[in-house]
C-alpha cells in the first residue's frame, strides 16, 4: 500500500516536473539567444494562461486545440515586445555584451503586465469550465494519474524536441544559434541581428503560451499567477544551466521530484526551503548549472 503512494508521488513529481520544465523553457531560450534575463517571464506565462483561458471559453475548443490560437498570438506579442521595447535599449547599449538595463525594462514589464491584467480582469480566480480535461484521472486500482498533467508533460517534451530540431536542423534555427554565439560575426555573415532577436523573443513567448495552455486545465488563472512560476523558472534554469533546453526539462523534473517526494519525509513547507537551498548550492558550486555550456546549445 505504501508503495502505491510512493509511486503516486513519483509519477506526479515527474509529470509536474516536466511541466515546470516547459514553464522555464521560454526563459532559457530567450536568455540563450539574447542574453537577456526576462524578469517578466512569469507575466508571460500569465498572459499565456489568460489567452488560453479566453480562447477556450469563448470558442469552446478543446484546450489543446486552442494552441493554434495561443501560439501565434503569443509569438506576435513577444515579437513586438522585443521590437518595440527591448530593441531600443539594446541599441542604446550597443557595445555591452550583456546589457543590464534590459533587466530593468523586463522588470517594469512584469509590473505593468500584472497590473494591467488586474485592471482588465480583476483579481478573480478563474478555472476553465466546462473543460474536458478537468478532473480527468486514469485509475489503475489505487493509482491515479492526472490526465491534464500527462498532456502537459507530453506538451513539454514535444516542445523541447521541436525547439531542438528547429535550432539544429533549420536554416533559421542555425541563424539563431549563430547570433547567440556572436552577434557581430553573425551580422557580418548577413544575418539581421534584430530580426533574429525578435524571432527568438517571439519563440520564447510562444513557448510561455504553450506552458499556459498546459497549466490552464488544472490551475487557476489570475493576474498574479505568474509570480510563483517565475520564481520556479529561475531556479530551474539556474539548476539546469542558463540557455540549455534539456537542462530546463531535467531541472524541472528535479524540482518536481523534490516537491512531490519531499512531503513523504517532511512537511511541504520544507520542500520549498530545500528547493531554494539547492538553488543557492548550485550557484556556489556550479554556477553554469548541470548542462550549462557558456555559449552553446
Amino acid at each position: 500500500m505504501d508503495f502505491i503512494f510512493f509511486l503516486q508521488d513519483l509519477i506526479n513529481g515527474v509529470l509536474m516536473g516536466l511541466i515546470y520544465g516547459l514553464v522555464a523553457l521560454g526563459l532559457t531560450l530567450i536568455f540563450g539567444v539574447l542574453k537577456v534575463i526576462n524578469f517578466a517571464h512569469g507575466s508571460f506565462i500569465m498572459v499565456g494562461m489568460f489567452v488560453a483561458y479566453w480562447a477556450v471559453s469563448l470558442t469552446g475548443l478543446h484546450p489543446y486545440l486552442a494552441l493554434a490560437l495561443v501560439v501565434p498570438t503569443m509569438f506576435i506579442f513577444g515579437y513586438f515586445t522585443q521590437d518595440l521595447l527591448i530593441k531600443p535599449v539594446f541599441r542604446a547599449e550597443r557595445d555591452v555584451r550583456e546589457p543590464t538595463t534590459v533587466i530593468i525594462v523586463t522588470t517594469g514589464m512584469w509590473y505593468i503586465l500584472d497590473n494591467l491584467a488586474l485592471l482588465i480582469f480583476g483579481p478573480d480566480y478563474r478555472a476553465l469550465s466546462p473543460n474536458p480535461l478537468k478532473g480527468q484521472m486514469i485509475e489503475l486500482g489505487q493509482l491515479f494519474i492526472s490526465v491534464p498533467k500527462l498532456w502537459g508533460a507530453l506538451a513539454s517534451v514535444a516542445t523541447a524536441v521541436g525547439l531542438f530540431l528547429f535550432l539544429s536542423k533549420t536554416r533559421l534555427g542555425r541563424a539563431v544559434r549563430a547570433t547567440s554565439l556572436d552577434r557581430e560575426a553573425a551580422g557580418l555573415m548577413g544575418i539581421n541581428q534584430w530580426k533574429i532577436y525578435n524571432i527568438a523573443f517571439g519563440l520564447g513567448t510562444a513557448v510561455a503560451g504553450i506552458a499556459g495552455v498546459a497549466l490552464t486545465p488544472f490551475n487557476n488563472v489570475y493576474p498574479t499567477v505568474g509570480i510563483p512560476f517565475d520564481v520556479k523558472s529561475f531556479v530551474i534554469v539556474v539548476l539546469g544551466g542558463l540557455g540549455s533546453i534539456p537542462g530546463a526539462l531535467i531541472g524541472g523534473v528535479i524540482i518536481g521530484l523534490i516537491e512531490s517526494l519531499g512531503p513523504i519525509f517532511m512537511t511541504s513547507t520544507w520542500t520549498e526551503a530545500i528547493v531554494y537551498g539547492l538553488f543557492l548550492l548550485v550557484l556556489f558550486v556550479r554556477p553554469t548549472g548541470l548542462f550549462g555550456q557558456k555559449f552553446d546549445w
Binding site: 509536474m16 483579481p123 478555472a127 498574479t224
Partner: protein, 409 residues
C-alpha cells in the same frame, strides 16, 4: 496700489474659501488594504463595501455633530506586505493627517501597522484580521469588529461536536492542513489544543506554502492519513486547487471544514465548481442571514459589484457605520475624542446592523465582544451552488438538512 488691493482681495477670498472648506470639514480615513498581490480579491471586496457605506453615510447628511462633515476614504495598497503596511500607516498619519485608520485584512499587516497607530494615538478600526494578539497587547486605539481566531476554532469544534450528536456519527480522527502564514499556523496551534480536549486523534498536521503551484503531494498525504475530519485554512487560489485535487484523487473524509478566507471568497464556488459541494465553512456572515435590511444591502452590493457580500465585506461595511456612530458622539476630529467614543460604542440599529449578532460593543481590549460566527454548507439545491447557513441550529436555513457525512461519491 490698485494691484495691491486686488491681490489682497484675492488672498482674503481664498482664505475665506479655505476656512469654509475646513468648517464643512471632512473626516479623513486611511484604509490599508491588499489591493494587489495574493489577497487582492478580498482587499477589493473591503474597498467596495467601505465605499458603499460611506456613500450612504455622506448622502444621508454626513456627520451631523460635525456640521455635516463628509467621510473621505484614502487607500493604500499593502500588497499583503507587513513592511509596506507600516510605511503606509506612517504616511497616512504624517503626510495625509488622517483622523482614523482602518485595515488591513492580513493579520500579518494589521499587527505591525496597528502598533504604528498606537504610537501616534490614532484610532485604528480593524474590520477583519483574526489573529488574537492584535487586541491583546494592551493597546488603547485598536478596535476589532470581527471575531478573533480563537473564537473561530472554538466554534469549529463546537460545530463538529454538535453534528456528531445530531447525526449520531462518530468522528475520531482529524487532519489539519493550513497555509503556513500567521493565520494558518495560528489556527493550527489552537486546533491542536482543541482536538486533544475534544478527544480527537490528530493523524496529519501539514502546513503548505500558499503560493504552491501543485498541491497533489499534500492531497496524497491526506489520502494516506484517512482522516474523518479535514480542517483547512486556505487562501482563495489554494482553496480552489486543494478542493479540485481532493476531488480528483477521490479523497472524501466525513467532514471538510474550511476557516473562512479562501473558502468564503466568491471565486471559490466558480473555481471549484461541483467539487465544492458538501464542503463546510465557518464564516462571520452569509447572505441568507435573517436580519432586517440584509437582503436589500446584499442586493445593492451585488448589483454594483457583481457578487454577494462576503463576511469580509460586511465587516468593512459595518466598520464604516461604527465609525460614523462614534464620530457623531465624539463631535470632534481629535483622535483622543474619537477613541473615547469608539470605546463606548454600543451600536444596535442602523443600516450597519446586518450582522448575525445584535450589537457592536468593544471590551477593554478593543475586541467586539458580541462578534459571532456561523457555519455554512456549500450545496446545490437546484439553482446552482450556494452557501447555506447550517449552524448554529437556531440560525439554520428553514427546511434545510445538512448533508453529513459527506457522500462517498
Amino acid at each position: 496700489m490698485k494691484r495691491f488691493f486686488l491681490c489682497f482681495a484675492t488672498v482674503c477670498l481664498s482664505l475665506a474659501f479655505a476656512m469654509q472648506a475646513t468648517a464643512a470639514g471632512t473626516v479623513k480615513v486611511g484604509n490599508i488594504l491588499p489591493l494587489s498581490g495574493p489577497s487582492a480579491s478580498v482587499g477589493l471586496q473591503g474597498k467596495n463595501a467601505r465605499e458603499m457605506a460611506v456613500e450612504e453615510i455622506n448622502a444621508a447628511g454626513g456627520i451631523k455633530s460635525l456640521g455635516g462633515a463628509k467621510i473621505e476614504l484614502l487607500y493604500a495598497d499593502s500588497k499583503s506586505d507587513p513592511n509596506v503596511g507600516v510605511t503606509e500607516a506612517e504616511r497616512f498619519i504624517n503626510n495625509d493627517k488622517v483622523n482614523v485608520l482602518t485595515g488591513a485584512w492580513n493579520s500579518g499587516v494589521t499587527y505591525p501597522s496597528t502598533a504604528v497607530a498606537e504610537r501616534y494615538g490614532i484610532p485604528y478600526i480593524v474590520p477583519v484580521s483574526v489573529r488574537d494578539t492584535i487586541t491583546e497587547r494592551g493597546f488603547k486605539n485598536v478596535f476589532r469588529i470581527a471575531a478573533k481566531d480563537s473564537w473561530w476554532t472554538r466554534d469549529q469544534f463546537a460545530f463538529l461536536k454538535e453534528m456528531e450528536k445530531e447525526f449520531g456519527e462518530d468522528l475520531k480522527t482529524v487532519a489539519f492542513v493550513y497555509e503556513n502564514g500567521d493565520w494558518g499556523t495560528g489556527f493550527a496551534a489552537q486546533w491542536e489544543k482543541l482536538a486533544k480536549e475534544n478527544g480527537f486523534e490528530v493523524v496529519l498536521n501539514e502546513p503548505y506554502p500558499s503560493t504552491a503551484t501543485d498541491l497533489t503531494p499534500v492531497v496524497n498525504k491526506i489520502r494516506r492519513a484517512r482522516p474523518d475530519v479535514l480542517l483547512l485554512t486556505s487562501n482563495a487560489a489554494d482553496a480552489i486547487l486543494l478542493t479540485n485535487t481532493l476531488a480528483d484523487y477521490k479523497v472524501r473524509p466525513k467532514v471538510i471544514l474550511g476557516s473562512g478566507g479562501g473558502h468564503a471568497d466568491p471565486t471559490f464556488l466558480s473555481g471549484a465548481g461541483n467539487n465544492a459541494r458538501y464542503v463546510f465553512d465557518i464564516v462571520e456572515w452569509e447572505a441568507d442571514v435573517n436580519k432586517p435590511g440584509a437582503k436589500e444591502t446584499n442586493a445593492k452590493y451585488k448589483e454594483r459589484y457583481g457578487s454577494n457580500l462576503t463576511g469580509e465585506a460586511v465587516d468593512a461595511y459595518v466598520a464604516m457605520y461604527v465609525l460614523a456612530d462614534a464620530l457623531e458622539r465624539a463631535g470632534s476630529l481629535e483622535p483622543a475624542k474619537i477613541r473615547e467614543a469608539l470605546a463606548s460604542t454600543d451600536l444596535k440599529t442602523g443600516p450597519g446592523m446586518i450582522v448575525t449578532y445584535d450589537s457592536v460593543k468593544f471590551d477593554e481590549s478593543g475586541q467586539n465582544e458580541n462578534a459571532a460566527l456561523s457555519v455554512v454548507q456549500i450545496n446545490d439545491l437546484g439553482s446552482g451552488l450556494e452557501r447555506i447557513t447550517v449552524w448554529p441550529k437556531s440560525a439554520r436555513r428553514a427546511g434545510y438538512t445538512p448533508v453529513f457525512p459527506m457522500p462517498k461519491n
